[in-house]
Symmetry: C2
DNA sequence: GTTCGATGTATCGGCGCGATATAACTCTTA
DNA sequence: TAAGAGTTATATCGCGCCGATACATCGAAC
């Protein structure tokens, strides 16, 4: 039941490298997912507390540098349960993995994801985008008689954006496939 | 003070053409803004009620087709106050007009917006996108040493998307300018 | 004749955002 | 050395919107 939500997964993944405090978690997440649409403190701090009570993370007293009396900061580290949950989640690829937000978070963790799962997620996302393509084309065709230039233009632009993403995904899927069939090289996407 | 929020504006704009009931409003909005990310009923129905108490819209008993006993449906029409607010809002172009969601809604109503305001909104959006471009490039440069291929690829894709939007906006701005300097032709963007 | 999908209104829980408060540290500059 | 700004850092609170859900009717297919 308790399917890990995107926020929890993102924090788990960020904490996997090393123990960090809230502010730094947010910064790193912002760097991974893009500077805008970084998660808010109003979500982050309550989530951290929740995750402590759930036993996924715990306060890290050890790592405090003993320079002087440091400013108040609370570092968190993964517990065994947290590590286990992250591992399990990274190996999974449910339909929720290709939602808009979830996909980006999952993709940012691809380096820690096995190749087979990477491929499944990319294909799932691709299929989702194909559905959108179809839906938008449908709507665009249906509004044929309606003569609002700007609305149509907005649709066309949306359509193009999705088309671009499909192309991008195709490129990544190709790389993933050839890397798998060959050795175990990381994908060279550029 | 009471700056019209996006949801209210969208409903106001949809109702401007003719009186409609909730379900139909949602459908039309979905057709304008794209089939996915259509607004939910959990937002729509409460908003309609709120707008009635605010005097922006009112229940439309008149327009009921007298065929037989129609299914329960509640059509709404704009009041004078609602029409006034829409008109005022359509002529404005505050910074909120180039937020992600707001911009799409405003753009979808461009046919009812005067050319000068159209241009100001397009330029505002363009400037917003330029800032993002800068931010992402900055972040991409800063993560130079960090060697996570997938994270970098995600950033690059995000960057490309924003670049595309800037190009799109430039095209529209050009059209708008030449239309203004020439006659009063609607933009021919294709 | 009944099952299915679309039409239609409505509410409720809850999550996450944006705003805001607070405060200590750091770097500049007068 | 002291003021001031900018960054680092934690925390909470209200509120808006979404997703799920419930319920009911209609038209068409089978």
């Amino acid at each position: 039941m308790g399917r890990t939500d995107v926020l929890t997964l993102a924090i788990l993944g960020t904490l996997a490298e090393k123990p960090l405090h809230g502010y730094e978690i947010r910064k790193r997440l912002g760097a991974s997912l893009g500077p805008f649409r970084a998660l808010s403190y109003g979500s982050l701090y309550p989530a951290l507390k929740r995750m402590v009570t759930e036993g996924l993370i715990e306060v890290d007293d050890e790592g405090v540098e003993p320079t002087i009396n440091r400013r108040s900061r609370i570092a968190y580290r993964l517990t065994d349960a947290g590590t286990a949950q992250l591992t399990e989640e990274l190996a999974s690829s449910g339909a929720s993995s290709w939602d808009d937000d979830a996909f980006d978070v999952r993709f940012a963790m691809f380096e820690r994801t096995d190749s087979a799962t990477r491929l499944r997620i990319l294909e799932g996302r691709r299929s989702r985008m194909s559905e959108r393509l179809e839906e938008i084309s449908q709507g665009l065709k249906a509004m044929r008689e309606r003569h609002d230039l700007y609305t149509a233009e907005l649709q066309r632009h949306g359509l193009e954006r999705v088309e671009r993403e499909v192309e991008w995904l195709d490129r990544l899927i190709d790389n993933e496939r050839s890397a798998t069939s060959g050795k175990d090289d990381p994908a060279d996407a550029g």
